[in-house]
């Protein structure tokens, strides 16, 4: 590691959906090659890339900080090009950068995003209000953003006074010491003029400053991808995208020495990146996630309740004449599986899946567990799966292994249509809307690649 240390606190990944170019893994690999000890992912209005970012960072020995750029409707629209310049920029709310300092901060960030996304009635990204920010402010550190931030917007709209009020407002919400005036240097004249105003404002308000690079791509080469994604996002060809495209190739991960050179007049802005990084104690290792509790009768624990249900199931499944010979081996296997489930704290999860199965049986819906869950005699006893793992001599470790440090994954096949919807509604009602979710995967598909090639007016 070099003597000069700089930690990038504002880097967007491709999970900012067409607003940034590089995958979380690519960001981490580049940061590792630059000998950056830590990196922060700050995607737009979401933490979709956090898990991959965290995993990649662990692999490379980098500390992965989690944050997000959050759109705030109360701060007006984000900075637009000057009125005399022709452009096709669309109005977007200004965005602040929030970093998770603690587990509470991560929970608040997630709840904040959920709050304003649930409020939208149409397919829009949504924006938080000041009330939302105030309600979910604990454990978060706020950076004022670059040209997408509220201070840039306020300076353009109402000058220094307006920007001071905005900064005061943010400080009231996040508290002194948790708000940093963010400075970015992408070698643009207008940006530097804004920086000088922000510097004098920060000095007069006695607010700390911090340098970031507002990263949108891992390397200068990825800027081309960023331009193509921008064109796709606005349904334009590259030739027609104009000022929507990147001004230059500077919004990339920079080495510590490069950032030190850029901010040689402001060493405090660089050193503050390390101070903030030290305060960002939260990582996804400390997620603190617990499965929803399954309600059990008075005097029972989830483990004891699960043991009883499994015992009933074993009697039912293996009590028949042709399987009685397997009973001894089955009981030993059940004991081993229940021991591991209790150790890992997964009893609630198995009981919830069992509950779903029972609901389907009551309603007469066809339901069947599949995949590696069929290797578990507990699943078989709970009638989640229909294959006898003892009789078939299946390997339980394919399903659940203490060393893999992974959560169990039981896939259920359900009939599509109203029956499936009925099961989803049952889960919502019994375990709460925020405890159940329908996952959606964002992944580049063939048609996206085709659109990408069309952005250059070339045949797909």
């Amino acid at each position: 590691m070099t003597d000069e240390n700089y930690i990038e606190l504002h880097a967007s990944s491709a999970f900012s959906f067409l607003a940034a170019a590089s995958s979380p893994e690519s960001l981490i690999e580049t940061a590792a090659s630059l000998e950056m000890p830590a990196l922060t992912i700050t995607d737009r209005n979401g933490v979709y890339g956090a898990a991959r970012f965290h995993t990649a960072a662990k692999r490379c020995g980098i500390k992965a900080h989690i944050g997000a750029e959050i759109a705030v409707s109360s701060f007006g629209r984000k900075l637009q090009p000057a009125s005399w310049l022709p452009h096709i920029q669309q109005d977007e709310p200004a965005r602040i950068t929030l970093l998770c300092a603690s587990q509470v901060g991560y929970q608040n960030l997630c709840q904040l995003i959920t709050r304003f996304k649930m409020r939208e009635t149409t397919k829009t990204e949504g924006a938080a209000t000041l009330d939302d920010l105030a309600e979910f402010s604990d454990g978060l550190i706020c950076l004022t953003g670059g040209d997408e931030g509220p201070l840039a917007a306020a300076l353009a709209e109402g000058g220094t006074e307006h920007a001071r009020k905005t900064a005061d407002l943010l400080e009231d919400i996040y508290g002194r010491g948790n708000l940093f005036i963010e400075l970015q240097r992408h070698q643009q004249r207008e940006e530097e003029a804004r920086n000088q105003t922000l510097l004098s404002m920060a000095a007069s308000l006695q607010m700390p400053i911090v340098a970031t690079n507002g990263v949108r791509a891992a390397t200068p080469q990825d800027r081309e991808v960023l331009d193509v994604l921008t064109a796709i996002r606005h349904h334009l060809t590259l030739d027609r995208a104009g000022r929507l495209l990147a001004f230059n190739s500077e919004r990339v991960l920079q080495s510590a020495s490069a950032m030190h050179r850029l901010f040689r007049d402001l060493p405090e802005a660089i050193s503050n990146t390390q101070l903030i990084s030290q305060r960002l104690q939260f990582t996804l290792d400390k997620l603190g996630y617990v499965f929803p509790h399954y309600p059990v009768p008075e005097g029972e624990t989830m483990d004891s309740f699960l043991t009883r249900r499994v015992e009933e199931g074993v009697r039912k499944r293996y009590g028949v004449a042709d399987k009685r010979s397997l009973l001894t081996r089955t009981r030993a296997q059940v004991q081993r599986e229940l021991g591991l489930i209790a150790k890992l704290g997964f009893a609630g999860y198995f009981l919830i899946v069992w509950d779903v199965i029972r609901y389907c049986q009551r309603k007469g819906f066809l339901v069947q567990g599949r995949g590696s869950a069929a290797n578990s005699v507990v699943c078989y006893a709970l009638e989640i799966t229909a294959v006898d793992p003892v009789g078939m001599e299946l390997l339980f470790e394919r399903f659940l292994n203490e060393n893999r440090n992974e959560w169990p994954d039981i896939d259920l096949d359900l009939p599509s249509g109203s029956e499936r919807e009925s099961v989803i509604q049952y889960l919502y009602e019994r375990y709460g809307q925020l405890g159940a979710a329908a996952p959606r995967r964002a992944k580049w598909a063939k048609h996206s690649a085709l659109r990408s090639s069309r952005s250059n007016d070339s045949p797909a």
Binding site: W84, L85, P86, H87, I88, H186, Q187, Q188, R189, E224, D227, L238, D239, G242, R243, L245, A246, F247, N248, S249, E250, N456
Partner: protein
């Protein structure tokens, strides 16, 4: 009392009329129009003066050439089609319900004018107005009004001038018409000839049942026409309003005067037609068919839609001067886009601006001198490329709100073209440079300000700008904007800071 009223407008010798409406220089001259292959061409139409010289349909070209003073023109179907469109357009001023009917070498349109008396007056006034309107676009027509569709159609094809067929007098009006007006087959005509039936009156007087027994059901229709009582299901067509005039020259035209002579007449027609719809010409496109099967298109866009023929002709002349045809012209098509004849309301305190038509001519003159792409208004482009702009067509800007600049800014003097420099760097920053005039030592440098883009095209750019203070050889300190073109590895002096 019948409420039906039809007006048939018939232009006789249409092939001749279509060509001569553009050739005012041939007015009164005997002109014959020939059609067919060069060695076997024969007369298909003629004007009255030519007929008086003995020109008849089917006369071979060589015999026409032997007639003294008869001008011969080749038939042009494109010109006839354009004239037919004009005729429909004029007719549409009197009724939206029109039907084109076959009329041999002429062109006939029947209008349903029932109920139009309140608009245009009695039948004879309406007939006069229709004739005058057709004459204004260069077409001489006969107009017949009556209550029966077929009566007016048959009468118009054989009549010259205006005619009003009184109610109940249809049979009498048609009585003297020869039977060939019914477009009978040769055998049918022979049969009637053999019976001594030669006119509509003879046919009308025959007993109906015996006639049908001998000639079939069609005979009932013929007799009904001859009696002026034939019915007709009107099949209206919709006239397209397209400001388009076509002329095909009989010999290739090389002189601009010859081209403009015809173009002037075509412009007159276009302006007349547009003005009848209370419109003006917003744009004008001239398509020239040149010898060697090539074409050339010229477009003119006056600042305001105009009905000023002289002005439009001048614009066309300027455009021709700027883009002279590369070969002799065989045909010209003028196509105009209509626009509203609105006037520009200038502000009371707005600065005086030149009259739009004069401005257009001045701009056209400038374009003829320096090229199309070098005259107009510079407009900034939506691009990060420094100094990128395009030239749009010049338009007088209305006086906008004055922008009050409150900040003090350093004045920047652009160096055009930028001067290429020799640069020596010190710590990756400008240290010493010289141009063709002097050498400079940099005392302070701010930057670099970087911009790059269009990486996907040959117009890619990637450059750094530096704001530097530098001392020249006389010890004077000056401010400069220097540009490092990273793609060409070239340093340039772009501007001086005052």
């Amino acid at each position: 009392m019948s409420r039906e009223l039809y007006a048939c407008v018939h232009a006789t010798e249409f092939a001749a009329q279509a060509l001569l409406r553009m050739r005012t220089d041939l007015k009164g001259e005997p002109v014959a129009i020939v059609d067919g292959p060069q060695h076997d061409a024969s007369v298909c139409a003629m004007n009255r003066a030519a007929a008086q010289r003995g020109v008849v349909h089917g006369l071979p070209r060589m015999e026409v050439e032997a007639l003294d003073g008869v001008k011969i023109l080749d038939r042009s179907l494109a010109v006839e089609q354009a004239a037919r469109t004009v005729m429909l357009e004029v007719a549409a001023q009197f009724s939206p319900r029109m039907e084109v009917v076959p009329a041999g070498v002429g062109c006939s349109i029947v209008l349903d004018v029932a109920g139009s008396e309140l608009l245009f007056g009695p039948a004879n006034v309406l007939a006069t107005k229709i004739r005058d309107a057709m004459e204004s676009v260069g077409l001489r027509v006969s107009v017949v009004l009556g209550a029966n569709f077929h009566t007016v159609r048959l009468k118009a094809a054989t009549h010259r001038g205006l005619c009003i067929v009184a109610m109940g007098a249809e049979a009498e009006t048609l009585a003297h018409l020869p039977l060939k007006a019914l477009e009978l087959s040769f055998e049918q005509q022979e049969k009637f000839e053999m019976w001594g039936i030669r006119s509509f009156a003879n046919l009308a007087a025959l007993p109906e049942s015996e006639l049908i027994a001998r000639l079939g059901a069609r005979a009932r229709e013929w007799q009904a026409m001859a009696r002026g009582v034939a019915s007709h299901a009107f099949q209206p067509i919709e006239a397209d309003f397209a400001l388009r005039e076509v002329y095909e020259f009989d010999t290739p035209v090389e002189q601009e005067e010859g081209l403009l002579f015809i173009a002037a007449r075509m412009l007159d027609c276009l302006v007349d037609r547009a003005s009848t719809h209370a419109l003006a010409l917003a744009s004008l496109t001239a398509e020239l068919v040149l010898e060697g099967a090539s074409t050339q298109s010229l477009s003119m866009h006056p600042a305001l839609p105009s009905q000023d023929r002289k002005f439009l002709l001048k614009l066309l002349q300027m455009e021709l001067a700027a883009h002279p045809p590369q070969a002799a012209v065989l045909a010209i098509t003028l196509h105009a886009e209509p626009g509203k004849t609105s006037k520009v309301q200038m502000g009371l305190f707005a600065p005086q601006t030149p009259e739009s038509s004069r401005l257009d001519i001045t701009l056209a003159r400038l374009k003829a001198m320096v090229g199309d792409d070098r005259v107009g208004t510079p407009v900034l482009e939506d691009s990060h490329r420094p100094g990128s702009f395009r030239v749009d067509s010049f338009q007088v800007q209305s006086a906008g709100k004055a922008h009050a600049e409150t900040r003090e800014r350093a004045a920047l003097r652009r160096v055009r073209p930028p001067r290429v420099l020799e640069m020596m760097l010190a710590d990756d920053r400008p240290g010493y440079f010289r141009d063709a005039y002097d050498s400079f030592r940099v005392t302070a440098a701010y930057g670099p300000w970087r911009t790059s883009g269009a990486w996907w095209s040959v117009d890619a750019w990637d450059q750094e700008e530096w704001d530097v203070m530098a001392r020249d050889s006389r010890g004077q300190t000056l401010g400069f904007v220097l540009v490092h073109d990273r793609l060409r590895a070239e340093w340039r002096l772009e501007a001086l800071l005052d």
